[in-house]
Structures are given as C-alpha cells and as structure tokens.
C-alpha cells in the first residue's frame, strides 16, 4: 500500500483576495513505502507548497492526503503525530537552529515527541554520527559552526525524529560540491539503513538522477509527470521545453542520437552511459 497518497489536491493562496493564486492544482499521486523520489520543477512550480501538505503544515483548499491509508485531516488534533511520522527539512534549515548546544538542538524534535531521556540520547548520538558530527561538537554552540556543519545539524534535528517519510527541500542549496556530496550520501545512507521513504526536492538534475528511483516533475502548479527516472529523462525534449534541464550526459546522448547514432535513450548517469557506449562499440558501432 502507498505510504503517501493525494487525491485531487488543490491549494490556493490568499483565497478571496486580489492576490489569489493557485499554487497546487489537482494533484493525484501515490508514493510507495521505501521509495526514493526526486521532485523537480521551476521556482514557483508548486513543489515547496506541495511538500508542506504531506506533513500537514498546509491544509489543502480541497482534496485529501492519506498517510498509510488514513486521511491526515480526519482528526485535526492528531496533526502533530503526522508531523512526527513525516519529517520535513526546509530550505536553508540552519536558520531554524536556536538552542545553546548542538546536542539540545538535535534533541528538540525527539523531546517534542515525548520520548524518554535515554531514547532521546540514543537518537541524538546516532543521528549525529550518521551526519558526520563528531561527539566533541555536540556540546558546542551551533552558532560557532561552519555553514555546512550547521546544515547537517539542522538536518539531523529532523532525522532524529526517525520519521517514516523524510522530505528534504533543496538540502544542498548554497553548499560547495564537497558539502553537497557529503549530505546527499548521508541521506542515501539513511534511506538505506532506516528503510524509510525519502522525498528530495532539488534543482540539480544530476543529483536527483543519481539518487532517485522515481521523479516527480512539477510545472505551473501541476504534476507534469511522475515516473521512473529513466522514463522521465526519455522525455528530455519535453522537459527542456518547460524550461528544465536534463543531466549533461543525457544531453550528450541526445545529440549522439540526433547525429544518427543508434544508442540508448534512457541514459542519465555516467556509469550507465559508459556501459552503453562500450556495448555499442563492441557491437561494431562507430562514434564518428
């Protein structure tokens, strides 16, 4: 059964005023347990608004959201429980840090859940280790840390709640390539060891192509397509038409095919590309 499901989801900002704007229109989708879903789309395409529905921060103007088959708005008083089960990491999450020490900031979520002292301690230490924060850093003030470290502390703050669904809104925005790699790998690792569902919003096609098994493409408040990564990048011409890019390697293969070379159209990682090229060369094909 799908862990997250939406039914005719609509969201309108400032309803009934001159500034009325539909941010999410008629979204129907199902996300299976344990999936790693990439969400891409332009700024203002409604992806951030959409993900805030999944943990009940926004209430849909119309339509329903089901978590594990249950309508999350069926009982309003239970919405906090939904937020513990669906963890959401906002863009630039380091700006939400407020505690005196790193330890206490990571413990904020677990404490709100009403966990015991020991369980909180276990989770804080386990999560800190997971995101590469050494024990010695736990007693430091989070405001002394570097940007990348702060980001990891903030992500750990949500991870420590051990949500069944982890949603991250551009977790790598504004980081250097090394910091990006680090965070993405930690997310991947978390996904693998915890067996949870991960939704990753990103602007970088390379990133989502590498990590996600399915891609949700948003365009002008609507779902443009929701399919396996390979299937989505097969439609690279359409994707470029709505103003999004495709991974560089996909573009290289598109140009090769345009030149009349008969080669695979579902390439989106360099590793797979190498295989395909070798295969092609072995079968007697020429790249000239």
């Amino acid at each position: 059964m799908a862990i997250l499901k939406t039914e005719n989801l609509n969201y309108v900002y400032s309803q009934g005023t001159p500034f009325e704007k539909t941010a999410v229109r008629n979204v129907n989708l199902e996300i299976e347990k344990g999936e790693f879903v990439g969400i891409i789309g332009h700024t203002g395409s409604g992806k951030s608004t959409l993900i805030q529905h999944f943990n009940g921060l926004l209430r849909p103007s119309s339509g329903k959201i089901y978590l594990d088959g249950k309508d999350i708005w069926a009982d309003k008083s239970q919405i906090r429980q939904v937020r513990f089960r669906v963890g959401l990491v906002f863009q630039y999450p380091e700006y939400q840090i407020f505690e005196e020490t790193v330890y206490r900031d990571i413990a904020f979520g677990p404490k709100n859940m009403g966990l015991s002292e020991q369980e909180t301690d276990r989770r804080v230490r386990a999560t800190a280790q997971r995101v590469g924060i050494p024990e010695s850093m736990l007693e430091k003030s989070p405001f002394e840390l570097s940007g990348g470290e702060k980001r990891r502390v903030a992500i750990a703050g949500v991870m420590a709640m051990e949500p069944e669904v982890l949603i991250l809104d551009e977790p790598t925005a504004g980081l250097d390539p090394k910091g990006r790699e680090l965070i993405l790998n930690q997310i991947k690792e978390y996904h693998k060891t915890m067996g949870c569902t991960v939704l990753l919003v990103s602007h970088s096609m390379e990133d989502v192509a590498r990590y996600a098994s399915r891609l949700l493409v948003m365009n002008r408040a609507e779902v443009f397509c929701f399919d396996s990564t390979a299937e989505v990048f097969k439609r690279s011409a359409e994707i470029e038409k709505i103003g999004l890019s495709v991974p560089q390697i996909t573009r290289v293969f598109n140009i090769l095919r345009e030149k009349g070379i008969d080669i695979a159209d579902d390439v989106y990682t360099v590793k797979y590309a190498k295989e395909k090229i070798l295969e092609y060369l072995k079968s007697g094909g020429k790249l000239q």
Binding site: S14, F84, F90, F98
Partner: protein, 267 residues
C-alpha cells in the same frame, strides 16, 4: 494569520491620489486629522465623512479593503464604546438597572466617537494605501529638512525608516518560515498554558533575531559597497514633483477645514 495585516500596506495603482506628491498627501492627512479632532458636532463629522468618501472615490481603492483595515481596531472601538456608555452619566437616562445607567448623551457620544475613530483610520490608511513607503519617507525627509539646521540627522532618520519599512514584509515571511520549520519538528504553537506558550516563542524569536542581525550586517556591507556615506550631498533618482492636482487638493482640504472651523464657531 500574520499575512493579513493591511495597516500600512501599499496597494499600487495609477489613480489621481496615487500620482499625487507624497509631501502634499502627508500634509493633507495631517490637516484631515486636525479636521476630525476639532469638529465637535455631528455636522462637522459629516463634513469629515464627505471628505474621506471623496478621497476614496478618487483613489480607486476597493471598499473591501477599507473594511479589512478597520478590522484590527474593533477591540479599541468596543473598549471606548463601553467606557463611554457607562461612564457618561449626564443627560436623560434611557435605561437603568441598579447602579448602571445609560443616558442619551452617552449613546450620542459613543456613536460620535465610533464614527470619528473609523474616519480617522480609514482616512489615514488611504495615505499608506496609495503612497509607496519609499515616497513616504522621502516626503518626511523633505518636510523635516528645515530641522537639519538644528543638527538633526534628518537624512539618516529617513534612511532608517526606509530600511525598517522595507524589512517588515521580509521579517514577516521569515517568521512564517521559522514557525513552519519548528512546527515540522513538533513544536506546539497553539496549545497549552501561558508558560508553555512563552516557551514556544523561544524557538521562533531566537532564529528571527539571529537572521535580523545577519541581514543588518549584510545590508551595511552592501550599502558601503555602493559608497553610501550618509545623506550629505545625496541626489535622488525620483524627484518629488508637485503639480496642479496637488495644489487643488490642498485647496479643497483647507476649504473643508475652514468649513469645520466655521461650523464649530456658529454652533
């Protein structure tokens, strides 16, 4: 929610009122306030009402917006009305129950005060509805500039006001974001006792202060990069220009003010 605050919000447009010189609008608004407060009888208040209605007709600001701007002052209205109703004891009693009495004069004064406050808010809101904050601070700076002689840093004060106004929406947005982020971590914002409520504010206030200080630092650097060194000798891209419409409006306002003074005198 927080976003619904309209008091002091600018609604761009291209009406006569929008295009007027901000200095004139500011002076007219001040005259309007004087007009409302020296008017001591019903007729003078009616004059004030006609004036406000005329101004709104010229401004093409939707009526719905007026209602919205009046909403936040409802508690104040209720408070003054209750005070007036029960504290004024002169006049004919209309209603009496034990020691509580409501007189005709009390009712009259309450209605008078309600209308006066409503007109005051509606009229002054029009200034901020039709004038961009930048134009408004410009106007204040120009009107205060004679005070430069007394070593008052008028330009700096105006710049501070501009910056403060500029950052109100930014900070509101930021607060919204931080609140959402903490809610996502299970912070309980709306339940509980007063002690819990105070505690719930900390996770919002601290990040907000941190980011405000950070922004201030960044802004200072950015201003220095563009060679800001105080208001001395600074020229402006948009000059305030006064035209026929401004003088006509000012004339009309003075006429109305004179009318109110006259009505008061013969009363």
């Amino acid at each position: 929610m927080i976003k619904d605050i309209t008091l002091g919000q600018y609604f761009p447009g291209n009406s006569v009122v929008h295009r007027m010189d901000a200095r004139f609008k500011l002076v007219i608004t001040m005259l309007f306030i004087v007009m409302l407060f020296i008017g001591s009888n019903t007729i003078s208040l009616e004059v004030g009402f006609v004036f406000t209605a005329m101004a709104y007709l010229c401004s093409s600001i939707p009526v719905k917006l007026i209602a919205k701007s009046l909403k936040p002052i409802l508690p104040i209205l209720a408070f003054t009305t209750i005070l007036n109703l029960f504290m004024i004891t002169s006049g004919m009693p209309l209603f009496q129950w034990k020691f509580i009495a409501i007189t005709d004069e009390a009712v009259e004064t309450s209605v008078f005060m309600i209308v006066r406050i409503l007109l005051l808010i509606a009229g002054t809101s029009l200034l901020t509805y039709t004038t961009s904050p930048v134009a408004l601070t410009d106007a204040i700076e120009r009107l205060l500039s004679p005070l430069k002689r007394f070593k008052l840093p008028v330009s700096e004060l105006a710049m501070m006001m501009t910056i403060a106004l500029r950052f109100i929406p930014t900070l509101i947005e930021e607060t919204d974001k931080i609140m959402s982020a903490q809610k996502a971590r299970g912070a309980d914002m709306d339940g509980g006792k007063i002690k819990d409520k105070v505690k719930a504010v900390i996770p919002i206030i601290i990040p907000l202060f941190v980011s405000a200080v950070r922004r201030a630092g960044e802004l200072a650097t950015a201003m220095e990069c563009r060679c800001y060194r105080g208001g001395e000798g600074r020229t402006r891209m948009r000059q305030l220009k006064s035209g026929a419409a401004d003088y006509v409006s000012l004339g009309i306002t003075i006429f109305f003010l004179a009318a109110v003074i006259f009505i008061n005198a013969i009363d």
